[in-house]
Amino acid sequence: MKIVVCVKQIPDPASPYELDPDSYYVVRPADQVLDDTDRYGVEVALQLSDEIGDAASVTLLSMSPGGSQQGIRQALAMGADGAILVEDETLRGADALTTSQVLAAAAKRAEADLVITGTESTDGYTGVVPQQVAELMGAPSLTFARKVEHVDGKIRIERQTQAGYDVVEGALPAVLSVTSGVVEPRYPTFKGIMQAKSKPVETLTAADLGVAPDVQQKITSVEDVASRQAGDIVEDEGEGHLRIIEKLEEVKVV
């Protein structure tokens, strides 16, 4: 089974990203980190691959117009076999649909049986890339999975719902999106980090994939919103709960 895991590389979320004042695109440093959300997909892929054995492979797929590899190496260090990087300046500012066209074409080219994604990215969070990729591949989408199993050549998931969960099964090739409750991602070992440096990363352009970027939306303005002012912050010295009661009385809840 060929498993392709989509991993997005994003500006380090430790500091909030900025929008370029002219293009309004996210300012993306040359080196971006692995979106934490995508570590779960990598872990699911590695566990499925361990279960299936030699017949399985795990390939990462990342679109990064500026060609960042830092985040890919982080995911390779977890144990993936190799990666495909779509690196192309014409993809800067790509919307979700353009991104999905690129990812779907690359996954098809890699003859993926299973494409794994997160449910939404940390920086753009449109949360529609998994479904768009599935549609473009003509594949079923198994989305919002909080548990994944490989049963009789099919993928069976627990799909998170408002009320609880549904057990859903789909035939391969399929696209699977996983939540951050699905598995506990492993930390790379020192050996993994060393090996990641020499794992193969194939680079492709949009043209290689037959995608002509066409962005049909444009940010026209960005304004600051008057933010909420912080109120009283007090240290609890055994009386904290009384301050809360005072506040609740003030707003007439008690």
């Binding site: 529609v128 079923p140 989408s141 809360i244």
Partner: protein, 315 residues
């Protein structure tokens, strides 16, 4: 202007996101239709009509791929200008697939939609709601928009029953090869989180699943609902229905009590519009204090039990 709104029936009612979107879309003028997925109970259809829908395309059920294909066919013949989805899982599944099918982008996380003649703009809030971004759409009809929960208030218009047509879904082959084997309900107790006047939410600072009972106890004493962060839901302490935030529920209660919650951007977007926010966190630097009207720097394991005792003593 012809607007379609996507609705999914739950427990015999129309989707709340659909009622919110219909209320907004009435101001655009023109035709207002609904794509309604579910059994089509009389109550659900009446609610849609009462919020301004004049026509309903009714679909009993189908895979996301079949729903998107059916919608794409209907959109081809009926030419809506705008299709509005909520943020639910099925909404996103169908919106995403429809977008790819039609080759039209999705404008996601919208908190406002403005229509000016043929021009359409949506507003998003980014960085935990500190900036508002306006995006114009230039893709030709239909524009596909996914809205944030509670972006608009649901207000009845007093409209009568809509005209209902059943939509048959095409066979989509392999893309539709998914099967729901079983459905499971995970109980959550207490009042409805989205409607409660008081919400008490717990984060990782509560410590473990067992200790989460103190969040429930405090919520009960205040006649409110219990909520949680995603970290706590992912850890399996409480079901997903408790989750407040970007990928959970949006709440706007009179009082929100955040217990052992750091205040990540994705949590703040789900609760920052609460009237009064009270936070308890042992870290004075926790971002939650930036939005709190009252912040207690302290250990939840001391403050909450003391608060519970004091409230009980008053009762």
């Amino acid at each position: 202007m012809k607007t379609w709104v996507f609705s999914t029936e739950s427990d015999g009612h129309a989707g709340s996101a659909a009622l919110e979107a219909l209320s907004k879309a009435r101001s655009f003028g023109g035709d207002l239709g609904v794509i309604h997925v579910g059994p089509g109970s009389e109550a659900a259809l009446a609610e849609l009509g009462d919020h301004g829908a004049t026509s309903v395309l009714q679909i009993a059920e189908g895979s996301a791929a079949a729903l998107a294909a059916g919608l794409a066919e209907a959109a081809g013949s009926q030419q809506p200008d705008l299709i509005v989805f909520g943020a639910g899982n099925l909404d996103r599944d169908v919106a995403g697939r429809l977008s790819a099918r039609l080759g039209k982008p999705v404008l996601a996380n919208a908190v406002d939609i403005a229509v000016d003649g043929d021009a359409l703009q949506v507003v998003n809030e980014i960085l935990g709601g500190t900036q508002r971004v306006t995006t114009s759409f230039a893709g030709g009809s239909p524009a596909i928009v996914i809205t944030r929960p509670k972006a608009f208030a649901a207000e009845p218009s007093g409209g009568g029953a809509p005209a209902v047509t059943t939509l048959e879904l095409p066979d989509v082959g392999h893309a539709g090869d998914v099967e729901v084997l079983s459905q499971h309900v995970e109980e959550s107790s207490g009042p409805d989180l989205e409607a409660a006047a008081v919400v008490v939410s717990g984060g990782r600072g509560i410590g473990d699943a067992d200790k989460f009972s103190m969040v429930h106890e405090l919520a009960d004493l205040l006649g409110g609902a219990a909520g949680a962060t995603r970290a706590v839901v992912d850890a399996g302490w409480v079901p997903y229905s408790y989750q407040v935030g970007q990928t959970g529920k949006t709440v706007k209660p009179d009082v929100y009590v955040a217990c052992g919650i750091s205040g990540a951007m994705q949590h703040l977007v789900g609760m920052k519009d609460s009237t009064t926010i009270i936070a308890i966190n042992k870290d004075p630097e926790a971002p939650i204090f930036g939005v709190a009207d009252l912040g207690i720097v302290g250990d939840v394991h001391n403050v909450i039990p003391a608060l519970v005792e004091a409230l009980k003593a008053r009762a």
